[in-house]
Amino acid sequence: MEKYYGWGLPIDISTHGYGIDRIIHIMHAAMALLFIGWFVFLIYVLFRFRARKHPVAIHDVKHFKFPTIVEVGVAVFEAILLAAFSFPIWVHLHDQLPSKEKALEVRVVAEQFAWNIHYPGRDGVFGRTDAKMMDAANPLGLDKADPAAADDVTTINQMHVPVDKPILAHLSAKDVIHSFYLPVMRIKQDAVPGQSIPVWFQAKATGDFEIACAQLCGLGHYRMKGYFVVDTPDKFDAWFLENEPKLLK
């Protein structure tokens, strides 16, 4: 898997990640420009006005106009960055959720220290879950008596998704705050107990990747790893069939 990750940003296989990477790149270019310009000036001043060469200081220095221009420039640049780059992506990710018909819906329920993935199955309806029914064999507390639950697929630390299809994930947590982190998908979103937070993404390439937890969640935080597999639609369907509850087959 080394090829996905180097010293720069991880590869990006999401449809929205381009915008995030672009803002990071623009920002760093601007920062480098500002810093190098400023730093060169600093070194120049230190050299030119060192006490040995410039024994008497000037009490009244003329007023500099250039820094004001730079400061206004920085402010304008930040405003553009916000309005043109940052806000639109945020709105895209948070307010323009894909419709339930178009997307594959899943529930991601985090716990110490695993990711439970809950697929609604063919009926597209999540079976009822109840915290009282949770145990080692049924970590989601899925109520088997609920007809909608019959075809639900649940996995632990295995998230399979089809490529080129919007995925709408509802994040929640059973115990403490976790953070659902897909580096290659430019997705990071806290899973807060007591809340269900929607997050959506769409992969544009297949591959085997990882889910990481990005919020300290206890002693096993560092090994709270899930597998994130993006498949072709055929392969995904095959995987899904294989995992469907036996009674349906």
Partner: protein, 576 residues
């Protein structure tokens, strides 16, 4: 209450339970420096695990009890204790006590020409509350389950269900909060009421301005954390559910608490403090740097008014940016937009301050003394720290960078090579005032150059790791594929950290050695203008033999036609 005759006081009243602002300042400074060293050592141990995960710590590994290391191999329990306590100790027990308690207490009353703080007894109480809080924090390492291990941010529900060390953390914090409350009341009252005649607000040294704004931040930002700490304490001790939502399932068992609480409430109240707290860490440092630059360029600070306005502006705005730490908690578009905008706005005054400092160098006659070296290094280091805050302040870029090493690099550049360098500058600069002796120039330079190199050796690679997506707070980073390519950097960083530790030896020798053997100097060795340099070194109880009167601004260096290249603030009118 005859405290004028301080030489008559018994030892314990004069040096231990003293009400003299200078003694308290030095108590704060030395205690704070020791905690900085202690917090740093915690990190030096922790960095072994990051560089060589799962390998036994050589030489000293077997000295640790089995609850912390087994066969020299660090346990995750201990790792997370080290991490949480490093943050807590550095911020609350180290930097703030040195920057505000130490320099603020020692220098500020001298700079405004006051005989002492307005409330000397409160001042003493402030130090001792801090001391008790610190003892409680340290004691928590020895309780069952060890110290707090939920990060210095202590997010519930994790912190609610953590071992008893977290309760110690909360109680310790309560002491810290009350200590800084008493301190800030004292600072504000002293600066408003006890300025020497003629020392108007627009003649105030920049350092005093910085302390003034800092005090307001402490006064108004800490109480909500006190409220939050009380609530978390209630959650832990009285089993309330302030931060516990309904239906928690912990370790496979349904939680017995009533539920109905909100984990995000803690984050709001915590960051309402902790963002202003960032400026509590940085403003006094800026104040120190301003003083040292003016003195060592032999010219007035460029744009004194712009500096003062910027500091006030930062202070006010720092109360409305807190939720940029919480972009990923499921925040709505409007709120995220609001906090992104305020975050971008607050970057402007920081740019102004940095630019103004650099322009202050223009036309100067720059002396590269040791304090000046540290002050100059502060500028680019704070620059890097400030600039790298921008991508984090944009919610979109934050999606990738949030809680990665990029964040760690960002705030460490602000606080470690930033604030810490300024604090070192301050130690070298005011040492002769406190002791009447100079610190060694040669050792100071060695300390500076080594520290500068290794600081960057630690923190620069963090940005690369952060961009690669490496999360913070990982006991073993090699568990994830995306962390492997940058893992060699962890070795570089750890070695830099250990060498940085060694680089502090010249400072320690210099600091304690110079108290007894430093070169004796007169009252004003730097030829500076502000009032503290007109007092004897070390200043006696009551500070000034006669009350100083101020006749001019703080930085009258190199006035054309003057006999000397500086005119003290208290020199009579028309003095040349």
């Amino acid at each position: 209450m005859s405290e004028h005759a301080s030489h008559d006081l018994p030892f314990w009243r004069k040096y231990i339970f003293s009400t003299d602002h200078k003694v308290i300042g030095i108590q704060y400074l030395i205690t704070g420096l020791l905690f900085l060293l202690f917090g740093f050592i915690l990190m030096l141990i922790l960095r072994w695990q990051l560089a060589y995960p799962g390998q036994p710590l050589p030489f000293i590994g077997h000295l640790f009890p089995e609850s912390q290391m087994i066969g020299g191999i660090m346990l995750p329990e201990f790792y997370y204790q080290l991490g949480a306590m490093h943050g807590t100790i550095m911020v609350f027990l180290g930097v703030v006590p040195v920057a505000v308690g130490g320099f603020g207490n020692f220098v500020m009353p001298l700079q405004i020409g006051a005989p002492d703080m307005a409330f000397p007894k409160l001042n003493m109480m402030s130090y001792w509350l801090y001391f008790i809080g610190a003892v409680i924090m340290i004691a928590s390492f020895f309780v069952p389950g060890g110290a707090a291990q939920s990060g210095w941010t202590s997010y519930p529900p994790l912190s609610n269900i953590a071992s008893v060390g977290q309760t110690f953390w909360l109680v310790g914090m309560a002491f810290m909060i009350n200590s800084s409350l008493l301190g800030s009341i004292n600072f504000i009252t002293t600066i408003i009421q006890l300025r020497a005649p003629g020392l108007t607000f627009n003649r105030l040294p920049f350092f005093v301005w910085a302390q003034f704004v800092t005090s307001f931040l402490l006064l108004l930002a800490f109480p909500p954390l006190m409220a939050a700490s009380v609530m978390q304490l209630m959650d832990r001790v009285a089993h309330t559910s302030f931060f516990m939502p309904t239906g928690l399932v912990v370790n496979g068992a349904l939680s017995s608490v009533s539920g109905g609480g909100s984990p995000l409430l803690w984050q709001h109240l915590f960051w309402f403090l902790a963002h202003p707290e960032v400026y509590v860490l940085i403003l006094p440092a800026m104040g120190i740097v301003g003083e040292i630059i003016a003195c060592n360029t032999r010219k007035p600070l460029y744009g004194y008014k712009a500096l003062v306005y910027s500091v006030i502006y930062i202070g006010v705005l720092s109360f409305v940016v807190w939720a940029h730490h919480m972009f990923l908690t499921g925040m709505g578009t409007t709120m995220s937009a609001f906090f992104q905008v305020t975050t971008m706005i607050i970057s402007i005054p920081s740019v102004v301050i940095l630019t103004t400092f650099v322009l202050s160098l223009w036309g100067g006659s720059i002396r590269f003394s040791v304090p000046m070296l540290f002050a100059l290094a502060f500028l680019p280091m704070f620059g890097v720290g400030g600039l790298t805050g921008l991508p984090l302040g944009l919610a979109t870029a934050d999606i990738h960078l949030h809680d990665t090493y990029y964040v760690i690099g960002h705030f460490h550049y602000v606080v470690a090579p930033g604030t810490l360098f300024a604090l070192f500058a301050g130690v070298y600069y005011w040492f002769p005032k406190a002791t009447g002796r100079m610190m060694s120039d040669k050792l100071g330079r060695i300390h500076f150059f080594l520290s500068f190199i290794f600081m960057n050796g630690i923190f620069l690679p963090m940005f690369i790791m952060g961009l690669a997506g490496v999360s913070r707070r990982l006991y073993d980073p090699t568990q994830f594929a995306h962390n492997l390519s940058t893992q060699p950097l962890n070795v570089v960083m750890s070695i830099s950290a250990w060498l940085l530790g060694l680089s502090q030896i010249p400072f320690i020798i210099n600091f304690f050695g110079s108290i007894f053997r430093g070169k004796k100097v007169d009252n004003n060795p730097w030829k500076a203008t502000t009032l503290e340099w007109t007092a004897p070194s070390p200043p006696p109880h009551g500070n000034f033999a006669t009350e100083p009167h101020v006749h001019r601004g703080p930085y009258e260096y190199s006035v054309p036609g003057a006999k000397q290249d500086f005119i003290p603030q208290s020199a009579p009118e028309g003095a040349r």
